[in-house]
Protein backbone atom coordinates (compact mmCIF):
# COMPACT_ATOMS: atom_id res chain seq x y z
CA UNK A 1 0.00 0.00 0.00
CA UNK A 2 2.90 2.39 0.71
CA UNK A 3 4.34 1.58 -2.68
CA UNK A 4 0.94 2.36 -4.11
CA UNK A 5 1.01 5.83 -2.58
CA UNK A 6 4.39 6.47 -4.19
CA UNK A 7 3.19 5.50 -7.66
CA UNK A 8 0.12 7.67 -7.22
CA UNK A 9 2.41 10.52 -6.33
CA UNK A 10 4.57 9.97 -9.39
CA UNK A 11 1.57 9.80 -11.69
CA UNK A 12 -0.04 12.87 -10.18
CA UNK A 13 2.88 15.16 -9.40
CA UNK A 14 4.34 16.12 -12.83
CA UNK A 15 1.10 17.53 -14.21
CA UNK A 16 0.16 19.20 -10.96
CA UNK A 17 3.60 20.74 -10.54
CA UNK A 18 3.43 22.28 -14.01
CA UNK A 19 0.02 23.65 -13.05
CA UNK A 20 1.30 25.08 -9.79
CA UNK A 21 4.39 26.64 -11.37
CA UNK A 22 2.82 28.07 -14.53
CA UNK A 23 -0.67 28.89 -13.25
CA UNK A 24 -0.91 29.18 -9.47
CA UNK A 25 2.38 30.98 -8.87
CA UNK A 26 1.67 33.59 -11.60
CA UNK A 27 -1.80 34.19 -10.15
CA UNK A 28 -0.16 34.77 -6.77
CA UNK A 29 2.43 37.04 -8.40
CA UNK A 30 -0.32 39.01 -10.12
CA UNK A 31 -2.04 39.67 -6.80
CA UNK A 32 1.33 40.55 -5.25
CA UNK A 33 2.20 43.06 -8.01
CA UNK A 34 -1.25 44.60 -7.80
CA UNK A 35 -0.41 45.68 -4.26
CA UNK A 36 2.92 47.29 -5.25
CA UNK A 37 4.00 50.10 -7.53
CA UNK A 38 6.25 48.21 -9.92
CA UNK A 39 6.76 49.51 -13.46
CA UNK A 40 8.06 46.23 -14.83
CA UNK A 41 11.61 47.51 -15.20
CA UNK A 42 13.06 49.22 -12.15
CA UNK A 43 14.67 47.02 -9.50
CA UNK A 44 12.94 48.74 -6.57
CA UNK A 45 9.28 48.87 -5.82
CA UNK A 46 7.27 49.23 -2.70
CA UNK A 47 4.04 48.12 -1.15
CA UNK A 48 1.21 50.55 -1.86
CA UNK A 49 -1.71 48.55 -0.49
CA UNK A 50 -4.93 49.07 -2.38
CA UNK A 51 -3.80 52.30 -4.11
CA UNK A 52 -3.93 50.68 -7.56
CA UNK A 53 -7.44 49.44 -6.96
CA UNK A 54 -8.55 52.86 -5.73
CA UNK A 55 -7.16 54.48 -8.90
CA UNK A 56 -8.86 51.80 -10.99
CA UNK A 57 -12.23 52.69 -9.52
CA UNK A 58 -11.95 56.28 -10.72
CA UNK A 59 -10.26 55.39 -14.03
CA UNK A 60 -12.79 56.38 -16.70
CA UNK A 61 -10.89 54.48 -19.42
CA UNK A 62 -11.12 51.28 -17.41
CA UNK A 63 -14.79 51.92 -16.63
CA UNK A 64 -15.44 52.27 -20.34
CA UNK A 65 -13.51 49.07 -21.05
CA UNK A 66 -15.58 47.27 -18.41
CA UNK A 67 -18.77 48.58 -20.02
CA UNK A 68 -17.64 47.35 -23.46
CA UNK A 69 -16.73 43.98 -21.92
CA UNK A 70 -20.13 43.79 -20.22
CA UNK A 71 -22.01 44.61 -23.44
CA UNK A 72 -20.06 42.08 -25.52
CA UNK A 73 -20.22 39.39 -22.83
CA UNK A 74 -23.89 39.69 -21.93
CA UNK A 75 -25.24 40.22 -25.46
CA UNK A 76 -22.86 37.59 -26.87
CA UNK A 77 -23.62 34.93 -24.24
CA UNK A 78 -27.37 35.33 -24.64
CA UNK A 79 -27.30 35.49 -28.45
CA UNK A 80 -24.95 32.53 -28.81
CA UNK A 81 -27.06 30.38 -26.52
CA UNK A 82 -30.38 31.38 -28.07
CA UNK A 83 -29.15 30.83 -31.63
CA UNK A 84 -27.20 27.72 -30.70
CA UNK A 85 -30.31 26.20 -29.17
CA UNK A 86 -32.47 27.17 -32.15
CA UNK A 87 -30.06 25.73 -34.71
CA UNK A 88 -29.39 22.61 -32.66
CA UNK A 89 -33.13 21.88 -32.70
CA UNK A 90 -33.33 22.56 -36.44
CA UNK A 91 -30.27 20.40 -37.10
CA UNK A 92 -31.31 17.53 -34.85
CA UNK A 93 -32.32 15.09 -37.55
CA UNK A 94 -30.02 12.70 -39.31
CA UNK A 95 -29.49 13.21 -43.01
CA UNK A 96 -26.98 14.04 -45.68
CA UNK A 97 -27.95 17.68 -46.08
CA UNK A 98 -28.15 18.17 -42.33
CA UNK A 99 -24.56 16.99 -41.98
CA UNK A 100 -23.54 19.52 -44.59
CA UNK A 101 -25.37 22.33 -42.78
CA UNK A 102 -23.77 21.29 -39.51
CA UNK A 103 -20.32 21.52 -41.08
CA UNK A 104 -21.07 25.02 -42.36
CA UNK A 105 -22.19 26.23 -38.92
CA UNK A 106 -19.23 24.53 -37.35
CA UNK A 107 -16.57 25.76 -39.74
CA UNK A 108 -15.84 29.26 -38.29
CA UNK A 109 -15.04 27.62 -34.95
CA UNK A 110 -12.03 25.90 -36.49
CA UNK A 111 -10.38 29.08 -37.65
CA UNK A 112 -8.25 31.47 -35.69
CA UNK A 113 -10.01 34.64 -34.49
CA UNK A 114 -7.03 36.65 -35.74
CA UNK A 115 -7.07 35.17 -39.22
CA UNK A 116 -10.82 35.53 -39.75
CA UNK A 117 -10.52 38.93 -38.09
CA UNK A 118 -8.32 40.02 -40.98
CA UNK A 119 -10.80 38.50 -43.41
CA UNK A 120 -13.67 40.49 -41.91
CA UNK A 121 -11.53 43.59 -41.81
CA UNK A 122 -10.86 43.27 -45.53
CA UNK A 123 -14.60 42.94 -46.08
CA UNK A 124 -15.97 45.52 -43.64
CA UNK A 125 -13.30 48.21 -43.52
CA UNK A 126 -14.16 51.62 -44.95
CA UNK A 127 -12.33 50.91 -48.21
CA UNK A 128 -13.06 47.19 -48.03
CA UNK A 129 -15.08 44.78 -50.13
CA UNK A 130 -18.53 45.60 -48.73
CA UNK A 131 -18.25 49.31 -49.41
CA UNK A 132 -16.86 48.52 -52.87
CA UNK A 133 -19.99 46.53 -53.64
CA UNK A 134 -22.26 49.20 -52.12
CA UNK A 135 -20.56 51.88 -54.19
CA UNK A 136 -21.04 49.88 -57.38
CA UNK A 137 -24.70 49.53 -56.55
CA UNK A 138 -24.89 53.29 -56.08
CA UNK A 139 -25.49 53.03 -52.34
CA UNK A 140 -23.91 54.97 -49.54
CA UNK A 141 -20.74 53.59 -47.97
CA UNK A 142 -20.95 52.27 -44.41
CA UNK A 143 -18.62 53.46 -41.68
CA UNK A 144 -18.31 50.44 -39.40
CA UNK A 145 -15.11 50.40 -37.38
CA UNK A 146 -14.81 54.19 -37.16
CA UNK A 147 -18.05 54.55 -35.19
CA UNK A 148 -17.90 53.08 -31.66
CA UNK A 149 -21.49 51.81 -31.61
CA UNK A 150 -21.23 50.15 -35.00
CA UNK A 151 -17.83 48.70 -34.15
CA UNK A 152 -18.98 47.12 -30.89
CA UNK A 153 -22.13 45.74 -32.51
CA UNK A 154 -20.13 44.30 -35.41
CA UNK A 155 -17.53 42.75 -33.14
CA UNK A 156 -20.29 41.19 -31.04
CA UNK A 157 -21.92 39.76 -34.16
CA UNK A 158 -18.58 38.34 -35.33
CA UNK A 159 -18.05 36.76 -31.91
CA UNK A 160 -21.51 35.18 -32.12
CA UNK A 161 -20.82 33.97 -35.68
CA UNK A 162 -17.58 32.31 -34.67
CA UNK A 163 -18.73 30.74 -31.40
CA UNK A 164 -22.22 29.56 -32.18
CA UNK A 165 -20.96 26.35 -33.85
CA UNK A 166 -19.43 25.04 -30.65
CA UNK A 167 -22.62 25.66 -28.71
CA UNK A 168 -24.68 23.95 -31.43
CA UNK A 169 -22.51 20.85 -31.00
CA UNK A 170 -23.02 20.87 -27.23
CA UNK A 171 -26.79 21.35 -27.50
CA UNK A 172 -26.98 18.64 -30.17
CA UNK A 173 -25.22 16.30 -27.76
CA UNK A 174 -27.77 17.29 -25.12
CA UNK A 175 -30.65 16.64 -27.52
CA UNK A 176 -29.37 13.14 -28.25
CA UNK A 177 -29.58 12.43 -24.54
CA UNK A 178 -33.31 13.17 -24.26
CA UNK A 179 -35.17 9.85 -24.05
CA UNK A 180 -37.52 9.28 -26.96
CA UNK A 181 -40.48 8.20 -24.80
CA UNK A 182 -40.78 11.76 -23.49
CA UNK A 183 -41.49 12.95 -27.03
CA UNK A 184 -43.78 9.96 -27.49
CA UNK A 185 -45.71 10.91 -24.35
CA UNK A 186 -45.99 14.54 -25.48
CA UNK A 187 -47.32 13.35 -28.84
CA UNK A 188 -49.92 11.15 -27.20
CA UNK A 189 -50.98 14.11 -25.06
CA UNK A 190 -51.57 15.98 -28.29
CA UNK A 191 -48.85 18.56 -27.76
CA UNK A 192 -47.90 20.67 -30.78
CA UNK A 193 -44.38 21.35 -31.92
CA UNK A 194 -43.95 24.51 -29.90
CA UNK A 195 -45.51 22.99 -26.82
CA UNK A 196 -43.26 19.93 -27.06
CA UNK A 197 -40.27 22.24 -27.21
CA UNK A 198 -41.48 24.18 -24.18
CA UNK A 199 -42.40 21.23 -22.01
CA UNK A 200 -39.86 18.58 -23.08
CA UNK A 201 -36.91 19.82 -25.08
CA UNK A 202 -36.13 23.08 -23.30
CA UNK A 203 -36.29 21.78 -19.72
CA UNK A 204 -34.37 18.62 -20.60
CA UNK A 205 -31.55 20.73 -22.00
CA UNK A 206 -30.99 22.47 -18.66
CA UNK A 207 -27.64 20.73 -17.96
CA UNK A 208 -26.35 21.55 -21.46
CA UNK A 209 -27.45 25.13 -20.94
CA UNK A 210 -25.57 25.42 -17.66
CA UNK A 211 -22.38 24.31 -19.35
CA UNK A 212 -22.83 26.43 -22.48
CA UNK A 213 -23.63 29.60 -20.55
CA UNK A 214 -20.62 29.31 -18.24
CA UNK A 215 -18.28 28.24 -21.02
CA UNK A 216 -19.28 31.09 -23.35
CA UNK A 217 -19.35 33.65 -20.56
CA UNK A 218 -15.78 32.91 -19.44
CA UNK A 219 -14.61 32.84 -23.06
CA UNK A 220 -16.16 36.16 -24.03
CA UNK A 221 -14.98 37.92 -20.88
CA UNK A 222 -11.39 37.54 -22.13
CA UNK A 223 -12.01 38.88 -25.64
CA UNK A 224 -8.76 40.21 -27.05
CA UNK A 225 -7.88 38.79 -30.48
CA UNK A 226 -10.62 40.32 -32.63
CA UNK A 227 -10.26 43.71 -30.97
CA UNK A 228 -6.52 43.67 -31.65
CA UNK A 229 -7.08 42.94 -35.33
CA UNK A 230 -10.28 44.83 -36.13
CA UNK A 231 -10.02 48.12 -34.26
CA UNK A 232 -6.92 47.93 -32.05
CA UNK A 233 -9.17 49.41 -29.38
CA UNK A 234 -10.06 52.47 -31.47
CA UNK A 235 -11.53 54.88 -32.25
CA UNK A 236 -9.99 56.60 -29.25
CA UNK A 237 -10.16 53.52 -27.04
CA UNK A 238 -13.92 53.17 -27.48
CA UNK A 239 -13.78 49.47 -28.38
CA UNK A 240 -11.21 48.39 -25.80
CA UNK A 241 -12.29 45.44 -23.68
CA UNK A 242 -10.94 45.01 -20.16
CA UNK A 243 -8.69 42.21 -21.42
CA UNK A 244 -7.35 44.49 -24.15
CA UNK A 245 -6.70 47.35 -21.73
CA UNK A 246 -4.82 45.04 -19.35
CA UNK A 247 -2.51 43.80 -22.10
CA UNK A 248 -2.03 47.31 -23.46
CA UNK A 249 -1.06 48.76 -20.08
CA UNK A 250 0.86 45.80 -18.71
CA UNK A 251 2.78 44.65 -21.74
CA UNK A 252 2.90 47.40 -24.31
CA UNK A 253 3.38 50.24 -21.84
CA UNK A 254 5.03 49.67 -18.50
CA UNK A 255 2.18 50.17 -16.04
CA UNK A 256 2.84 46.69 -14.75
CA UNK A 257 1.40 46.92 -11.24
CA UNK A 258 -1.62 48.89 -12.32
CA UNK A 259 -2.40 46.40 -15.11
CA UNK A 260 -1.99 43.60 -12.56
CA UNK A 261 -4.60 45.23 -10.33
CA UNK A 262 -7.01 45.52 -13.29
CA UNK A 263 -6.37 41.83 -14.06
CA UNK A 264 -7.18 40.95 -10.44
CA UNK A 265 -10.44 42.94 -10.68
CA UNK A 266 -11.38 41.18 -13.94
CA UNK A 267 -10.48 37.77 -12.48
CA UNK A 268 -12.53 38.41 -9.33
CA UNK A 269 -15.55 39.59 -11.31
CA UNK A 270 -15.42 36.67 -13.76
CA UNK A 271 -15.01 34.19 -10.90
CA UNK A 272 -17.82 35.76 -8.87
CA UNK A 273 -20.27 35.90 -11.79
CA UNK A 274 -19.35 32.36 -12.91
CA UNK A 275 -19.99 31.01 -9.43
CA UNK A 276 -23.32 32.83 -9.09
CA UNK A 277 -24.34 31.67 -12.57
CA UNK A 278 -23.34 28.09 -11.84
CA UNK A 279 -25.26 28.03 -8.57
CA UNK A 280 -28.33 29.58 -10.18
CA UNK A 281 -28.28 27.32 -13.25
CA UNK A 282 -27.67 24.19 -11.13
CA UNK A 283 -30.65 25.14 -8.95
CA UNK A 284 -32.66 25.62 -12.12
CA UNK A 285 -31.64 22.13 -13.25
CA UNK A 286 -32.83 20.64 -9.98
CA UNK A 287 -36.07 22.57 -10.13
CA UNK A 288 -37.09 21.46 -13.59
CA UNK A 289 -35.61 18.00 -13.92
Amino acid sequence: MRKDAWTRGFLFAPGFLVYLIFMMIPIGMCVYYSLHNWDGLSPVYRFVGLDNFVSALSDTDFQRAMRVTAIITIAGTLAINALGLLFAVLLNKPGRMINLYRSVFFFPLLLSAVVVGFLWKAILNYNGILNGVLEQLGLEKLEIFGVPGNAILTITILIVWQNVGGVIVLYLAGLQGIPNDLYEAARIDGAGRLQTFRSVTFPMLAPSMTMCMIFIFTTLAREYDRIAVLTNGGPGGATETAAFTIVKLGINTNRFSYAASLAVILMALVAFISIVMTLYLRKREERIL
Binding site: V18, F22, S103, L119, I129, A173, F256, M267, A271
Partner: protein, 277 residues
Protein backbone atom coordinates in the same frame (compact mmCIF):
# COMPACT_ATOMS: atom_id res chain seq x y z
CA UNK B 1 -48.85 22.86 -40.98
CA UNK B 2 -48.12 19.41 -42.36
CA UNK B 3 -44.96 17.57 -41.41
CA UNK B 4 -43.65 17.70 -44.97
CA UNK B 5 -44.27 21.37 -45.36
CA UNK B 6 -42.46 22.10 -42.09
CA UNK B 7 -39.54 19.99 -43.20
CA UNK B 8 -39.25 21.83 -46.50
CA UNK B 9 -39.40 25.16 -44.73
CA UNK B 10 -36.65 24.04 -42.40
CA UNK B 11 -34.41 22.91 -45.24
CA UNK B 12 -35.07 26.09 -47.19
CA UNK B 13 -34.21 28.26 -44.20
CA UNK B 14 -31.08 26.32 -43.32
CA UNK B 15 -29.84 26.23 -46.90
CA UNK B 16 -30.31 29.95 -47.35
CA UNK B 17 -28.59 30.68 -44.07
CA UNK B 18 -25.69 28.39 -44.94
CA UNK B 19 -25.21 30.14 -48.26
CA UNK B 20 -25.06 33.49 -46.45
CA UNK B 21 -22.61 32.05 -43.92
CA UNK B 22 -20.37 30.86 -46.73
CA UNK B 23 -20.14 34.28 -48.38
CA UNK B 24 -17.10 35.48 -46.40
CA UNK B 25 -15.21 32.30 -47.25
CA UNK B 26 -16.19 32.65 -50.89
CA UNK B 27 -14.82 36.20 -50.85
CA UNK B 28 -11.57 35.03 -49.24
CA UNK B 29 -10.94 32.17 -51.66
CA UNK B 30 -11.98 33.95 -54.84
CA UNK B 31 -10.06 37.13 -54.13
CA UNK B 32 -6.94 35.30 -53.03
CA UNK B 33 -6.46 34.35 -56.69
CA UNK B 34 -7.26 37.74 -58.20
CA UNK B 35 -4.93 40.64 -58.99
CA UNK B 36 -5.47 43.68 -56.81
CA UNK B 37 -7.29 45.86 -59.34
CA UNK B 38 -9.73 43.02 -60.07
CA UNK B 39 -10.48 42.78 -56.32
CA UNK B 40 -11.31 46.45 -56.22
CA UNK B 41 -13.29 46.59 -59.46
CA UNK B 42 -15.23 43.34 -59.04
CA UNK B 43 -14.94 41.86 -55.54
CA UNK B 44 -17.55 39.13 -55.98
CA UNK B 45 -16.86 37.92 -59.51
CA UNK B 46 -14.48 35.30 -60.84
CA UNK B 47 -12.42 36.64 -63.77
CA UNK B 48 -11.18 33.30 -65.07
CA UNK B 49 -8.69 34.84 -67.47
CA UNK B 50 -6.94 36.83 -64.75
CA UNK B 51 -6.62 34.26 -61.96
CA UNK B 52 -3.12 34.16 -60.54
CA UNK B 53 -1.00 32.64 -57.78
CA UNK B 54 1.03 35.78 -57.40
CA UNK B 55 -0.74 36.90 -54.21
CA UNK B 56 0.37 33.72 -52.48
CA UNK B 57 3.94 34.05 -53.63
CA UNK B 58 4.11 37.69 -52.56
CA UNK B 59 2.30 37.42 -49.25
CA UNK B 60 3.71 34.13 -47.98
CA UNK B 61 7.39 34.68 -48.64
CA UNK B 62 8.63 38.07 -47.54
CA UNK B 63 11.86 38.99 -45.75
CA UNK B 64 9.97 39.12 -42.43
CA UNK B 65 7.42 36.36 -42.93
CA UNK B 66 7.64 32.87 -44.36
CA UNK B 67 4.51 30.77 -44.18
CA UNK B 68 6.41 27.47 -44.02
CA UNK B 69 8.46 28.71 -41.10
CA UNK B 70 5.21 29.74 -39.42
CA UNK B 71 3.66 26.32 -40.10
CA UNK B 72 6.78 24.64 -38.70
CA UNK B 73 6.91 26.66 -35.48
CA UNK B 74 3.17 26.33 -34.88
CA UNK B 75 3.22 22.59 -35.58
CA UNK B 76 6.16 22.07 -33.21
CA UNK B 77 4.49 24.04 -30.41
CA UNK B 78 1.10 22.40 -31.00
CA UNK B 79 2.38 18.81 -31.15
CA UNK B 80 4.73 19.21 -28.19
CA UNK B 81 2.04 20.87 -26.07
CA UNK B 82 -0.48 18.16 -26.93
CA UNK B 83 1.98 15.34 -26.14
CA UNK B 84 2.83 16.88 -22.76
CA UNK B 85 -0.83 17.51 -21.95
CA UNK B 86 -2.05 14.05 -22.94
CA UNK B 87 0.75 12.33 -20.99
CA UNK B 88 0.69 14.47 -17.84
CA UNK B 89 -3.06 15.12 -17.92
CA UNK B 90 -4.11 11.49 -18.30
CA UNK B 91 -1.74 10.27 -15.55
CA UNK B 92 -2.92 12.98 -13.22
CA UNK B 93 -6.58 12.32 -13.98
CA UNK B 94 -6.17 8.63 -13.24
CA UNK B 95 -5.14 9.52 -9.70
CA UNK B 96 -7.83 12.23 -9.41
CA UNK B 97 -10.56 9.85 -10.52
CA UNK B 98 -9.43 6.86 -8.47
CA UNK B 99 -8.36 8.31 -5.14
CA UNK B 100 -10.78 9.38 -2.47
CA UNK B 101 -8.82 11.79 -0.38
CA UNK B 102 -9.40 15.38 0.66
CA UNK B 103 -6.16 16.47 -0.95
CA UNK B 104 -7.18 15.21 -4.39
CA UNK B 105 -10.69 16.64 -4.10
CA UNK B 106 -9.09 19.98 -3.31
CA UNK B 107 -6.61 19.61 -6.17
CA UNK B 108 -9.44 18.89 -8.59
CA UNK B 109 -11.36 22.00 -7.48
CA UNK B 110 -8.18 24.05 -7.80
CA UNK B 111 -7.83 22.78 -11.38
CA UNK B 112 -11.44 23.53 -12.26
CA UNK B 113 -11.03 27.04 -10.91
CA UNK B 114 -8.14 27.50 -13.31
CA UNK B 115 -10.50 27.20 -16.24
CA UNK B 116 -12.24 30.46 -15.28
CA UNK B 117 -9.10 32.58 -15.04
CA UNK B 118 -8.67 35.16 -17.80
CA UNK B 119 -5.25 34.60 -19.42
CA UNK B 120 -4.31 38.25 -18.89
CA UNK B 121 -3.92 37.51 -15.18
CA UNK B 122 -1.19 34.98 -15.86
CA UNK B 123 0.39 36.71 -18.81
CA UNK B 124 1.89 39.66 -16.96
CA UNK B 125 3.72 37.69 -14.24
CA UNK B 126 4.61 34.77 -16.50
CA UNK B 127 6.96 37.05 -18.43
CA UNK B 128 8.97 37.59 -15.28
CA UNK B 129 8.77 33.93 -14.30
CA UNK B 130 9.95 32.71 -17.71
CA UNK B 131 12.77 35.29 -17.67
CA UNK B 132 13.92 33.98 -14.33
CA UNK B 133 13.91 30.45 -15.72
CA UNK B 134 15.72 31.57 -18.88
CA UNK B 135 12.78 30.42 -21.00
CA UNK B 136 11.33 33.74 -22.16
CA UNK B 137 11.12 34.04 -25.95
CA UNK B 138 11.66 30.30 -26.38
CA UNK B 139 9.43 27.56 -27.74
CA UNK B 140 10.10 25.53 -24.57
CA UNK B 141 8.72 28.32 -22.41
CA UNK B 142 5.57 28.58 -24.49
CA UNK B 143 5.08 24.79 -24.47
CA UNK B 144 5.42 24.65 -20.68
CA UNK B 145 3.04 27.57 -20.32
CA UNK B 146 0.52 25.87 -22.62
CA UNK B 147 0.83 22.70 -20.56
CA UNK B 148 0.02 24.56 -17.35
CA UNK B 149 -2.71 26.63 -18.97
CA UNK B 150 -4.61 23.76 -20.60
CA UNK B 151 -4.07 21.04 -18.01
CA UNK B 152 -7.30 21.92 -16.14
CA UNK B 153 -9.31 21.33 -19.30
CA UNK B 154 -7.40 18.12 -20.09
CA UNK B 155 -7.86 16.80 -16.56
CA UNK B 156 -11.55 17.73 -16.64
CA UNK B 157 -12.19 15.58 -19.74
CA UNK B 158 -10.01 12.63 -18.65
CA UNK B 159 -11.24 12.54 -15.05
CA UNK B 160 -14.85 12.47 -16.18
CA UNK B 161 -14.15 9.55 -18.47
CA UNK B 162 -11.97 7.52 -16.09
CA UNK B 163 -14.70 7.72 -13.44
CA UNK B 164 -16.92 5.71 -15.78
CA UNK B 165 -14.35 2.89 -16.09
CA UNK B 166 -14.89 -0.06 -13.75
CA UNK B 167 -12.40 -0.33 -10.91
CA UNK B 168 -12.30 -4.09 -11.26
CA UNK B 169 -9.98 -3.64 -14.20
CA UNK B 170 -7.30 -2.09 -11.99
CA UNK B 171 -7.91 -4.56 -9.19
CA UNK B 172 -7.52 -7.67 -11.29
CA UNK B 173 -4.31 -6.27 -12.76
CA UNK B 174 -3.04 -5.56 -9.27
CA UNK B 175 -3.77 -9.20 -8.29
CA UNK B 176 -1.46 -10.26 -11.08
CA UNK B 177 1.29 -8.17 -9.55
CA UNK B 178 1.31 -5.17 -11.84
CA UNK B 179 2.41 -1.89 -10.26
CA UNK B 180 0.63 1.44 -10.60
CA UNK B 181 2.60 2.58 -13.63
CA UNK B 182 2.04 -0.67 -15.48
CA UNK B 183 -1.66 -0.61 -14.66
CA UNK B 184 -1.99 2.91 -15.97
CA UNK B 185 0.08 2.70 -19.14
CA UNK B 186 -0.74 -0.91 -20.17
CA UNK B 187 -4.37 -1.21 -19.09
CA UNK B 188 -6.00 2.15 -18.49
CA UNK B 189 -4.35 4.36 -21.09
CA UNK B 190 -5.22 2.09 -24.06
CA UNK B 191 -8.93 2.36 -23.23
CA UNK B 192 -8.75 6.15 -23.01
CA UNK B 193 -9.07 6.56 -26.76
CA UNK B 194 -12.40 8.49 -26.79
CA UNK B 195 -11.35 11.19 -24.30
CA UNK B 196 -7.90 11.34 -25.92
CA UNK B 197 -9.55 12.01 -29.28
CA UNK B 198 -11.61 14.84 -27.73
CA UNK B 199 -8.63 16.30 -25.91
CA UNK B 200 -6.40 16.18 -29.00
CA UNK B 201 -9.02 17.85 -31.22
CA UNK B 202 -9.77 20.63 -28.73
CA UNK B 203 -6.14 21.26 -27.91
CA UNK B 204 -5.19 21.29 -31.58
CA UNK B 205 -7.73 24.05 -32.20
CA UNK B 206 -6.82 25.98 -29.04
CA UNK B 207 -3.06 25.88 -29.46
CA UNK B 208 -2.88 26.15 -33.25
CA UNK B 209 -5.13 29.24 -33.25
CA UNK B 210 -3.68 30.78 -30.10
CA UNK B 211 -2.62 34.37 -30.55
CA UNK B 212 -1.95 36.43 -27.45
CA UNK B 213 0.24 33.88 -25.66
CA UNK B 214 2.67 33.28 -28.55
CA UNK B 215 2.62 37.01 -29.35
CA UNK B 216 3.84 37.87 -25.87
CA UNK B 217 5.85 34.81 -24.85
CA UNK B 218 7.54 33.98 -28.16
CA UNK B 219 7.98 37.61 -29.12
CA UNK B 220 8.91 38.76 -32.57
CA UNK B 221 12.64 38.16 -32.57
CA UNK B 222 12.83 34.42 -31.97
CA UNK B 223 10.05 33.22 -34.19
CA UNK B 224 6.41 33.43 -35.01
CA UNK B 225 3.39 31.19 -35.27
CA UNK B 226 0.84 31.36 -38.07
CA UNK B 227 -1.35 33.82 -36.17
CA UNK B 228 1.36 36.08 -34.74
CA UNK B 229 3.35 36.00 -37.98
CA UNK B 230 0.36 37.13 -40.02
CA UNK B 231 -0.54 39.73 -37.43
CA UNK B 232 2.95 41.22 -37.59
CA UNK B 233 3.25 40.86 -41.37
CA UNK B 234 -0.06 42.51 -42.17
CA UNK B 235 0.00 45.12 -39.44
CA UNK B 236 -2.78 47.37 -38.23
CA UNK B 237 -3.19 49.71 -41.17
CA UNK B 238 -2.54 47.61 -44.23
CA UNK B 239 -5.05 47.72 -47.04
CA UNK B 240 -3.29 45.17 -49.25
CA UNK B 241 -6.40 43.04 -49.46
CA UNK B 242 -4.84 40.81 -52.13
CA UNK B 243 -2.17 39.70 -49.66
CA UNK B 244 -4.59 39.45 -46.76
CA UNK B 245 -6.95 37.11 -48.65
CA UNK B 246 -4.04 34.90 -49.70
CA UNK B 247 -2.79 34.76 -46.10
CA UNK B 248 -6.25 33.95 -44.76
CA UNK B 249 -6.44 31.00 -47.16
CA UNK B 250 -2.92 29.79 -46.35
CA UNK B 251 -3.46 30.13 -42.60
CA UNK B 252 -6.75 28.22 -42.70
CA UNK B 253 -5.54 25.43 -44.99
CA UNK B 254 -3.83 23.21 -42.35
CA UNK B 255 -6.85 23.33 -40.03
CA UNK B 256 -9.14 22.57 -42.94
CA UNK B 257 -7.03 19.58 -43.99
CA UNK B 258 -6.93 18.22 -40.45
CA UNK B 259 -10.68 18.77 -40.20
CA UNK B 260 -11.41 16.90 -43.43
CA UNK B 261 -9.14 14.02 -42.41
CA UNK B 262 -10.68 13.72 -38.96
CA UNK B 263 -14.19 14.93 -39.77
CA UNK B 264 -15.74 11.76 -38.40
CA UNK B 265 -14.12 12.26 -35.01
CA UNK B 266 -14.48 16.00 -34.85
CA UNK B 267 -18.10 16.62 -33.98
CA UNK B 268 -18.52 13.46 -31.92
CA UNK B 269 -15.21 14.14 -30.17
CA UNK B 270 -16.24 17.65 -29.22
CA UNK B 271 -19.62 16.52 -28.00
CA UNK B 272 -18.37 13.42 -26.14
CA UNK B 273 -15.71 15.44 -24.41
CA UNK B 274 -18.27 17.91 -23.21
CA UNK B 275 -20.92 15.40 -22.18
CA UNK B 276 -18.78 12.87 -20.35
CA UNK B 277 -16.40 15.42 -18.89
Amino acid sequence: MSERMANRLRHGFLMLLCLVLLVPFYIAVVNAFKPKDAIVSDPMGIPFAELTLRNFAEAAFTPTFNIFKAYGTTALITVASIVCLVALGSMMSYVLARTKHRFFTFAYLLLLGGMMIPPQVILIPIIKLLRALGLMFSETGLILYNTGWYIPFTAFIYTGFIRTISKELDESAMMEGANGFQIFWRIIFPILKPPTASVVIFLFLFVWNDFLNPLVLLGSTKGYTVTTGIYMAVGQYSTNWDEIFALVVLASLPVLIVFLLLQRYFVSGLADGAVKG
